[in-house]
Amino acid sequence: MGSVPNQIQERPSAAPKMARPVRRGFMALLRNPRARTRLIVTLIVFLISLMFVFPLYWMLVLSTHTLQEVSAFPPPLLFGTALGDNLSRLLEAFSPLQAIWNSLLVAVPKTLGLVLISALAGYGFSRYARLTTAQWLLSAVLATLFFPPSLGLIPFFLEMKVFGWLNTFLPLIIPAMASAFGVIWMNTYISAAIPRELYEAAELDGAGPMTTFWRVVLPIIRPGLSALAVWTFIGTWNDFQIPLIILNDADKFTMPLALTTLSAMRSSDTPAIMLGTALGILPVFLIFAFLSRQFISGLTSGAVKS
């Protein structure tokens, strides 16, 4: 389980060209004032970076120790051997598989729907940008970015009550598929990735607008789709407030709700709580380990837009 953060940290050492200056000999490096500054600053930044990792590392460490070891002094800083005991104690109070399943039931359909709806609208906005209707509606989408999510929170809850959707996953899936952020992002992405001539060529070949969307646009914008999907999935996995308001039954709780409930119920059992927390964030770390490029490209393209 501890291998996930390690994997991420180890990856850089696989890049040989970055490591070359070190191999030239340490003493020679220290004699060069510029290299010395570089080394010292790198060390300082490295130490700071440890503070960002430490709480996560410590979470893993505590989840492998007994209750007595956890409250002993000096506190354990390396991995212990009580993982199995902690797991069996954790399973009495908390079902990680149930919570993971619930979170997947919410995050997977929402992500698929959001990506598809955003791509479709982005395609329409991009391909028909010259129509005044498109320009007006795009301004309307941009304007919705002004609305904080909490603005309609109370009526949203009442609406879900009227729909009979309280204590179901539907309010977490369907409404959130409409994302102004996703639409704007896909519009920008498609406008940059698809040249006009491609639409004309598709039309000459007799392809209708929807065929063009499925057969031409979607395959080309796949990197953008996966970046949006990664962001949506991780964001949904971590959502707390809406699930808190909508879900009542503990067996329907998504991961953050299940974990906060666990930590409130078993507040004295630190190792079990930390083990549960580690299991709860494991899926997201796995996704990051495999799709970090999409995650970062999503982050920066969101910023470039402004």
Partner: protein
């Protein structure tokens, strides 16, 4: 008649395009109207009414908007939110900028590691971060108290979460820990896009490192910094998950950790004051929209000036 006949193919083409456009936008706008706009408008209506969800709705004019200012806990929530917003925004943006500058300028090894490591906290749900925080600062076996106790020579059982002084710094610390990586990546991308020619020219002119930073790097980075500040601001004003989980939903001793988001939640979902809660959500909206308008005006002016 003849004229319309001639214009017809173009018009028909345009009408067909408009139909396709509307078809591509339909899923997004349908969902947005039902689940986004309708609640927002109903929230505006509710803000001028008193309603507990059961008894008949009563129109009260601006009473909700005025009444909150006579509630000491609302005043507290406003001050707390402003303190948390200011503290977290300044610290996050500064830390991220300094780190990005140092990595860009001095770090030549392990660059992938440094690009990734600060992002790890972003993967953890804020609610889950609060659980880890509760364990780190726990009064009887928390790591912080253990080390403190070792420093002063006798065991320390300081209750961080009941402290009126420390609850806000802890919330700020959580936000900084979580969001520094996001801003760091934005800044790093910005710094790398600053043209190398400019630096070269400055060095040829004999500019010192400090002059380059003050005269070239920071001015060129201002739009990115402004974007970073506005993003942190919008998030900071709406903060809910962290204080909610950190204080077990209570707002902390003497409401020292109560934020506007929590006040809204309590009003609506604990006290069933839907009208009052809606009024608060419009206050949050005014804050967010106000900051965004100022930001847009600044960006527009800086673009016009060059």
């Amino acid at each position: 008649m003849q004229q319309t006949l001639k214009a017809r193919p173009v018009q028909r083409r345009e009408a067909a395009d408009r139909r396709t456009l509307l078809a591509t936008l339909a899923p997004y706008f349908l969902l947005f109207l039902i689940f986004g706009l309708l609640p927002i408008l109903y929230s505006l209506y509710l803000g001028f009414h008193r309603w507990d969800g059961l008894s008949p709705i009563k129109s009260v004019g601006f009473q909700n908007y005025a009444r909150v200012w006579t509630d000491p806990s609302f005043i507290k929530a406003v001050t707390n939110t402003l303190i948390i917003w200011l503290g977290s925004t300044v610290l996050t943006v500064t830390t991220a900028f300094v780190l990005a500058f140092l990595v860009n300028e001095y770090v030549v090894i392990w660059r992938t590691y440094f690009r990734m490591v600060f992002l790890l906290p972003l993967l953890v749900a804020p609610a889950v971060t609060a659980i880890i925080m509760r364990v780190l600062f726990s009064s009887d076996s928390g790591l912080i108290n253990t080390f403190w106790g070792n420093l002063v020579g006798h065991p320390v059982y300081f209750d961080w979460f009941s402290s009126t002084v420390w609850i806000k710094p802890m919330i700020i610390l959580m936000i900084v820990w979580r969001w520094t990586g996001w801003h760091f990546v934005i800044f790093l991308a910005g710094l790398q896009s600053v043209s190398g020619d400019l630096y070269e020219a400055a060095r040829v002119d004999g500019a010192t490192g400090r002059q380059v930073l003050a005269r070239i790097t920071i001015p060129l980075m201002l739009p990115t910094i402004a974007f970073s500040v506005i993003t942190a601001t919008i998030g900071g004003i709406q903060v809910f998950d962290e204080p909610f989980v950190l204080t077990n939903g209570t707002g902390g001793t003497d409401n020292a950790g109560l934020t506007l988001g929590m006040y809204l939640y309590n009003a609506a979902f604990r006290n069933f004051q839907f009208g009052l809660g809606s009024a608060v959500s419009y206050y949050v909206f005014i804050l967010v929209a106000g900051f965004t308008l100022v930001y847009n005006a600044l960006i527009r002016r800086s673009r016009e000036n060059g």
